[in-house]
Amino acid sequence: MSWDEALDYTAGRIKAIVDKHGPDVFSALGSGRITNENNYAVAKFTRAVIKTNNVDHCARTCHAPTVAGLAAAFGSGAATNSISDILEADVIFVIGSNMTEAHPIVSYYVKRAAKNGATLIVVDPRKIDLVRWASLYAQQHVGTDVAFLNGIINEIFKNGWQNEEFMRSSTENPDDIREWVKPYPVEKASEICGVPVDTMRTIARILGTAKNVNIIYCLGITEHTCGTDNVKSIANLQMVLGHLGKRGGGVNPLRGQNNVQGACDMGDLPNVYHNYQPVDDPHVAEKIAKDWGVTGLSLKQGYKIPTMLHKATSGATKIFFCVGDNTVQTEPNMAKTIEELKALEFLVVVDIFPNLTTEMAEVVLPDVCFNEDDGTYSNLERRVQRLRKAVNPPGNAKPTWWIMQELGKRMGVDLRFTSAEGVWEDMRRTATSMAGITYSRLDEIGIQWPCPTLEHPGTPILHLHGKFTRGKGLFCRTDNRPPAEMPDAEYPFMLSTGRRLWHYHTGTQTRNSIGLETIFPEELMEISPVDALRMSIKTNDMVKATSRRGTITLKAWVTDRSPEGVCWCSFHFFEAHANVLTNDAYDNVTETPEYKACAIKIEKISDGKPYVQTVNRQARP
């Protein structure tokens, strides 16, 4: 089929359905993998052509609680410091981040800092590889971060280690937090989170007496039904310590994908345009409509991903336009996701390789990938960086911005996209925090936003001198809430999920790499030695893992990475996929799924080949 035929058909189908049922039956996804320009194109098409704000992307499934939590505390959800700042810290506090596998580049900085003498504290339910570099490791129970953090804060107050001056001058309600953590003396917090009292006291002392603490966290914090509360607790801790607005300190969430920050910045979100300009502000809508040369931009906030999908079964979502997102494998409770996608009238997928989602699509449009087009990415420290075309795309693959331009044209709206740089300039005309960033300025080195004018050099550190976006920092009350589904007699294990070093997310890219497939060719269920011994399970034995939502069959990996009662697997392999098991329970603020906790049972199916460890490798048996 030619591009013209595919585009005519796609535009015709979209138009017919939207004309009949209204714009809100259309939902689109951008991606943390595609460029800023392509994300902007998806958002502009959704808003300017369809006239709905139903656009979202995979930040919903990972760091939305970061933005909600940090925005509540500071007024803004971005990381406060640069990656290189890690080297300036004397204490690095890492919680809920398996960074040597999920963020290996950042982990180099942390390991280097630890080797140079910084005290590294790692808090994680799994004994991850980073523990090897840690001065202190605390193994909390899955889903007990609020109790742990409140216990630490309580102990800091008990010993007078809080930064009283910072709290008084830079926060709005310093007396509240002291009261709110009173129900969490370390003894009680320890009972909930499982970290020994002495360890908690030591951590509190190290944090409370440090000159400069850099707090780093990731999805172990956010992917819980209490994800936003977890983030607020981290903000509380750092405001009690007062290491904000200076080099080496800060609260630094590790964004997951190469451009998930950029996808947010470009407005692939249901409530904001690019640069976080609210869709329900008439002045903003008027400014953008004027620049885009359109009328009737919706002032109504759109749907988040879970709502987009839930509404498919009732017919309220009929079109799903999915760019660079393997939704079948990404969302929790895969069987439910498949039912929701089946209920759609029209599923369009733009991607670079076939995957489970393309198999369900009526139309698949081939996208270009990394270095097959120009563009920009924004990394986790808000740094916009240039990407240059180095090779031609295979076959007839086209950039997303070109696809959106062609679809828009066929639906009567000229999006005015002629090149990647042209798309960036289109965005920049109505930008705020990125208005000063041009391709020519990015020629030699990236620029960190805010960079509001052409003269401005960019901003490496936010909240300098203790000034927060919202005025003064706000302590928020958080209380311990267990995960939505806890182990019980029928499903006695807690399953936690995540990423492996060797593969990337749903494997759309990395599973097409022969080298990576050779190194790590199949999913393994990590089981603690204690549990394995009890069930006579050895590494390489086949096991069946079952939750209330489905079953997968895979090999076991008996490892002390998992504590007793906890199993772990990734969502890279469609053959044995964690999201068959995971629970579609969501953070109550952001609708981020609880990927990190659900109840399963494990049954041994058969013996495997005896496993002989021949080499010591990181992150694999």
Partner: protein
């Protein structure tokens, strides 16, 4: 008018501007509700008084002036709309208001420097412009820190 009188009149003008700014910010501090906004207006009012003191001391010896260094002008004030003053105004708007005031002050001295043929007078106006640009730069730096939140 002899040059000394001209310079003295310029200082009178500059001092009156600082007095007016001090009163403006002090009055705003009474009006706003947000404690952080209140504090920034009080801080700004104090700074304007400091500027007045500085200018008064310079007026006594106008030809032996402290030279204000030219700092980078990021033109952020120019890119922002004039904020509306309300009791509920956020910190962002308070800082935007102040940086726009500094922009207007710098612009006024720039125009006056362009309008004169007297070398001493022009240099004085340019020096005062640099002083205001310094204030503007400081406020723009603060504005960048708080003015572009990531919220969704």
């Amino acid at each position: 008018m002899n040059p000394q009188n001209s310079l003295s009149l310029i200082f009178d003008l500059a001092i009156r501007k600082e007095e007016a700014a001090n009163q403006f910010y002090a009055a705003l501090a009474q009006r706003v509700k947000n404690r952080a906004v209140q504090e920034i207006f009080i801080e700004l009012a104090k700074e304007e008084l400091n500027h007045k003191t500085l200018l008064t001391s310079l007026q006594a010896a106008p030809l032996i002036q402290t030279k204000f260094a030219r700092v980078p002008d990021y033109h952020i004030a120019e890119s922002e709309a004039q904020p509306v003053v309300t009791p509920d105004m956020p910190l962002r708007d308070a800082v935007a208001l102040a940086m726009k005031n500094e922009q207007q002050a710098a612009q006024l001295y720039h125009v006056m420097a362009q309008a004169t043929t007297e070398t001493d007078v022009r240099e004085l106006f340019e020096n005062l412009m640099n002083m205001e640009l310094g204030h503007k730069n400081r406020l723009e730096t603060l504005f960048v820190d708080i003015g572009y939140p990531e919220v969704f």
